[in-house]
Symmetry: C2
Subunit: 103 residues, 2 copies
């Protein structure tokens, strides 16, 4: 690899690392929000999943992805991946509450 290419690779990787740090912190904040949603749903006895909400999120994120030059299919896969984790959290919160009521 030429020295210019090596330098170019180092610069690009520094940008990727900065972006990843930002995304990790945003995901941390997203899970703080979804944990609060999970607690609220468990308190109100609402189901962990909400197909209407998810459909509107998919539509919106695909549209935002198109605007920003991201593959809309990837944006949808990302949302599905994240929602699966959220639902796993919601179910464990709901199970926790069930556990409490049994005590």
């Amino acid at each position: 690899m030429t020295m210019i290419s090596r330098q170019e690779l180092t610069e690009l990787r520094a940008s990727i690392d900065n972006i990843d740090a930002a995304v990790i912190h945003l995901l941390a904040e997203r899970f703080r929000c979804t944990k609060a949603v999970g607690a609220l749903k468990a308190r109100e006895g609402l189901p962990a999943t909400d197909p209407n909400r998810e459909a509107s999120q998919v539509k919106r994120l695909r549209s935002l992805a198109s605007l920003s030059g991201l593959d809309p299919d990837f944006a949808e896969k990302f949302l599905t991946f994240t929602i699966e984790e959220v639902i796993r959290h919601h179910r464990s919160i709901a199970d926790g509450l069930d556990g409490q009521t049994r005590v």
Copy 2:
């Protein structure tokens, strides 16, 4: 659901939607960077994957996740999920270059 809970859910979802918009735009920028890395690697004949780089990314993101209160396992899953997409891109860029050299 009580009116207070409904309002609380609406507010939390507005935050989640804002965070998702930010993440989508960051991912768009991340893929702009990784596409440039892909083009550079294809030009230099470097392999699409780089296990040392990936190991150091996993270590760093797990550490950032711990600091920000995100489950480190989720951070690692997110990175793996993103890198899989990137490698798919790199391979298709490399295949495109191979195609050009055959013409």
